[in-house]
Symmetry: C2
Subunit: 338 residues, 2 copies
């Protein structure tokens, strides 16, 4: 019984994504602030509303929301906004947070906002947990950097261990950013969980952790659907008193095979026992934009791994569905370059 | 199979509730603008957050949210904010609407807001409809007046046929309010559905209709959980192209037995075929505040009828649960006067 009763996509932004070179979750650094809104608008409506642009990487590889929409079309989806500079124009649960700031210069969040995210996220999880298995995904450009920072702030050795949506993981830049944040802080980790989040986190990971806490509290089973960022979510969940033995993580083969990161090492460090991997390959796709996933582009996001794992569980042909949707959106946007 | 997979409470305010004597959904006319937020905060958390006050009528009879919380504790609940002057401090789905204005003086809603409510409400319903049966409740003080106005604007003879949370239905005042609105409008009904809503409606009924539309579109079954207001919701649903034969309404005995209104007449006029009634009596309660329900206080709201009907379906002792919760909140608020 690991099929999702419902899927929650927690979105938000961090100004860390504006640092040139740190995120490819958008065509330019500025566009990364639109990516979460566009992702979920597209996921819900089949086309974005805020701008008529489906998010792509700088080399034109489309958002993982495409895969989630294509293969998990029959799973109820809820968007939860933890703090996005661009609020989405679709139904979304307001968790009362705020966008994350550049934590090299100042704390990422006001602690009041982080506390509100914990309170509302837990309450949302408690309702949804009554349904059973809840998949919890994310869309936050810059999230692998904030995940590394949060894990380090919580006392884990996560230096250079988080993944990237780029085939060329900018690990030195990320490491430098986290070092600068620690320098500003002027104290050595570990910090307590809310302090770690407020100083060096972002709105999404703490909100996702709170939803997972609520799901478990209600007797449901939380599945964190994402890559190495979910180690940070699991670490916050654990630090807030969650039973990590009840937590599941579900992701893609592209994440676990990423040699620039250490997905399993992070999961082991945090104590996550239940890891599920979607094993599908896009190598045989007729579309270069999808074959790029096999070269390490994108890898995760918007619960793609969870959606693919669900398809695997029920025997649905993921690639056929993804190709069909890929063709639909290519026609929709009249772009031939991806 | 009429048990709810999930329950959505659509909230909002209308300035119609500020007209003295029109609504008892709050201790004073001004307090009615807090009622939806306090209702759902209490429903989700077990105690309100915006103010430490559980909504009561001017004579101290507690909100129907008490009953919903007490008897449907295992049903997942989602709050959807269609437009409330006081946004609730709990997780809620933002449907992009706005509070309703006093339609004696100006249109109730900007049509852009009403269209957004239709779009987002339908999208939310399409997701939740994948779960099966969706109960859709409301909290909007003044809602029986806006319901009468909307029905009349859509061409139904609803004059004096909607109910009231008061044992003394202020029908003349309501009728006068609707007449003034028609006078301002200067045109005879019927209006087209969005125009009826923008001119003489409120944010909640159109949003609830949109959620129901989406649920039906996704193959689920929409249950409107409320009293005579749901005739307006059903009429909007029908006017927007919804198949009224697929729509269910579930309410309390207190509504259908209300001699000051005509619940069944309105349902028949709109064409609703499936009506379910919770038959529980509070006559044997040891608490005067609950026995007051038998004298026509409150009657419906916050999906109370749906919650009681659900208890009836599964054989749960509603009154015992309600009394226990009543005692808990009486101690919580340290008030002995209700």
């Amino acid at each position: 019984m690991s099929k999702p009763a419902v899927m929650v996509i927690v979105i938000g932004t961090t100004d860390i994504s504006l640092i040139p070179g740190i995120s490819v979750a958008g065509a330019t650094p500025e566009m990364t602030h639109y990516t979460p809104a566009l992702d979920v608008e597209y996921l819900i409506y089949g086309r974005p509303r805020t701008l008529d642009i489906i998010p792509v990487t700088p080399t034109g590889i489309p958002t993982p929301a495409l895969v989630t929409r294509a293969v998990a079309y029959d799973v109820p989806k809820l968007v939860a906004n933890a703090g996005s500079r661009v609020p989405p124009r679709c139904p979304y649960v307001d968790l009362g947070g705020e966008p994350g700031r550049d934590f090299r210069k100042e704390p990422a969040l006001n602690c009041g906002a982080a506390e509100e995210l914990v309170q509302r996220g837990t309450a949302l999880g408690e309702e949804l947990g009554k349904l059973g298995v809840v998949y919890i995904g994310e869309s936050i450009p810059g999230g692998t950097t904030t995940a590394m920072a949060t894990l380090i702030a919580l006392g884990y050795d996560a230096w250079g261990k988080t993944s990237s949506a780029s085939p060329d993981n900018p690990k030195e830049l990320k490491t430098q950013v986290v070092r600068e944040a620690l320098g500003r802080l002027g104290r050595a980790p570990p910090l307590d969980p809310l302090e770690a989040v407020c100083e060096m986190g972002d709105p999404v990971h703490v909100a996702a952790a709170a939803v997972a806490l609520g799901v478990a509290k209600a007797g449901g089973t939380p599945y964190l659907a994402g890559g190495t960022q979910m180690a940070a979510v699991a670490a916050i969940y654990k630090a807030l008193g969650g039973d990590v033995a009840r937590l599941h993580v579900v992701t893609t083969r592209w994440i676990v095979e990423d040699k620039t990161a250490d997905f399993y090492g992070l999961m082991e460090a945090v104590g996550v026992r239940h890891v599920h991997v979607a094993t599908v390959s896009f190598a045989a796709s007729k579309h270069p934009g999808l074959r790029a996933y096999e070269q390490g582009a994108v890898k995760e996001g918007v619960a793609m791994g969870g959606a693919l794992y669900y398809a695997q569980l029920i025997g649905r042909d993921a690639l056929a569905n993804v190709e069909k949707e890929y063709e639909r959106i290519t026609n929709l946007t009249r772009r031939k370059d991806f």
